[in-house]
Each structure stands twice: as structure tokens, then as C-alpha cells.
Symmetry: C2
Subunit: 138 residues, 2 copies
DNA sequence: CTTGACTCTTGAGTTACATCAAGGGTCTAG
DNA sequence: CTAGACCCTTGATGTAACTCAAGAGTCAAG
């Protein structure tokens, strides 16, 4: 099913939508296995490498760090119990995102109030934004 | 009103809730003016420095970068038109936060679906999380 | 065969924001 | 006076995730 035509680093970079340097970086970081080489030293990849790269990119889009992705990749290769770990990590990530959203909402609301209260002109002493920033710790 | 007792760097670090090294770093970065010195070379601060430090900390809590804070500080010292700039920057920051929240929500929802769909056991091929990550680009 | 695009390695640089280490002066309470 | 806490400078280190530069070899089309 999967054709076995060998791909250069430039090609897989193209299909996976990442930079060539990034691929070499991922390899150094152990996120990608060392590929076969041509006699010339050129790296040779197959479709599996493209999938793996896409996996990494997706996971990154979901906010996983490269360290976490390394874990996910290991878990995804673990046929026994790996799925449980994956679910755990995903749930943890979800929790972290939720917390981040709450935190950002808090900040947003505070800032929003200040922006609305500020007339946008007049003396610095009358600007509620500046006043809030300069105020002694509440 | 403001007492003129001179404060050491350790004292203002304490009252503003930042590290001593951070204060020297801010000074190098131009966020804090160079303070007077004792003959020994010790930095001497007053209450205004504490206010300024708190300003910086608050602004950082609101998600402003140090570059933006440098701007805010300059604007806050500008008696003519400064307030307008402050309001603009704050509004821009608010907009950025809103966008970030929307983005995080999107990610959150995607991840949440996957976590809920994953049974947490079984074969990797049946895990919707892994499937979603490995899937060809949609 | 030539040319231009592609790939190789090593090693350094980037951003943002600190944080630490080393080696040495200074201050103050007892 | 002395111990211990505090402060000084310079310069290096750390994190995350790349990104780039230099110099050299390789490949494919025409």
C-alpha cells in the first residue's frame, strides 16, 4: 500500500509542512529516528517519516511541548498500556489549557475594565490604567 | 509625603517582590533609571523606585512584554498625549489576549473531544487521539 | 559537461527574561 | 573588632524551539 519510493529531506519537509532544519533538529532531539542514508550521505525517508512529522506538528498545535511529544511517540508505539498513557497525557494537557484560559480570562477582564474606564486623554494622574499599575500592592 | 530615607537594592526588591538580580537587569535594560550611589558604590533608591518596580510587575502580570512596558513607562511620563498612547497599547494588549483565548478555546475543544472519545485502553490503532495525530492533513 | 538546486556537517545565534557564579568590597549588630 | 549579611561587577548559563552561516559535496535536467 505504502509506496517505497525514497524521499529526500526536502520532499518530506514539503509534505509535512516543516523546515528542513527543523527535521534535522528533531532527529538530533530524538523525535525522529535516524534515517537510512544514500552512499552520498543524503538522508532517505519513507512515508512513515512524513506521518511521524505530521504527528509532531499536530501535537505541537495542540500545545504539547517537544518533550511531551517524545513521550506520546513512545506511548503510541507501546502496544500494551500505551493508550492509557496517551489518554492521561492528553487529559493533563487539557487541564493545563483550561487553567491557562481561566488565567487569561482573569487578566482579560481586569484589563478590559481599565481600558473602558480610561478616557484616552487628559493627565497621566487621571488615567485609570496608569493608576492601577502604579498603585501600592492590594 | 514620601519619606526620603534611602533604600538598598535588597529592601526595594523585598517591597516590590522581585529579585535583586532582576532589578539590576531592569536597570541594564533601561526600565529603571540608574540610581544614585553611596560612596561605596551601593545603589540608593527611594519610594518612587518601588512604585516603578511594582508598575513593571503589574504590567508583566497583564501580559505586557518588557519592551511594551518600556513604552508604557515612557508614555506615563508624557504629560501631553501620553495617556492616549497608554490606552492604545492596553487596547492592543486586550485584543491580543482575546485572540489568544479564542485560539486556546479552539485547541481545548479539539483536545477535549479526543479525550472523551478515547477509551483509555486497547490497541493504539483504536485510540482516537493517536489516530487524529497521525491522520494525513485534512 | 555544466549549472543550479539540493544536501551535508559543525557550530553559533536568536528571543525573552532572567538567574547564577566567582571573587571581592561594605555594613552593622554584638 | 569581627562575623555574617549584604552589595558590587563581569560574564556565563538556562529554557524552548528553532534558525542560520559557512564551506563543501551531490544530483538531475538539458
Amino acid at each position: 500500500m505504502t509506496t517505497q519510493n525514497s524521499l529526500t529531506i526536502g520532499r518530506i519537509a514539503q509534505s509535512a509542512g516543516v523546515a528542513i532544519d527543523t527535521i534535522r533538529f528533531y532527529e538530533r532531539e530524538g523525535l525522529l529516528p535516524e534515517p537510512r542514508r544514500r552512499p552520498s550521505g543524503y538522508r532517505e525517508y519513507d512515508e512513515a517519516a512524513v506521518s511521524r512529522l505530521r504527528f509532531i506538528r499536530r501535537a505541537k498545535d495542540l500545545g504539547f511541548t517537544l518533550d511531551e511529544i517524545r513521550e506520546l511517540l513512545a506511548l503510541s508505539a507501546d502496544r500494551h498500556g500505551g493508550v492509557e498513557g496517551v489518554r492521561e497525557r492528553a487529559a493533563a494537557r487539557l487541564k493545563a489549557i483550561d487553567e491557562r484560559i481561566v488565567e487569561l480570562q482573569r487578566v482579560r477582564d481586569g484589563l478590559s475594565e481599565l481600558v473602558e474606564a480610561c478616557p484616552g486623554h487628559g493627565a497621566p494622574e487621571d488615567c485609570p490604567i496608569l493608576k492601577a499599575l502604579a498603585e501600592p500592592t492590594r
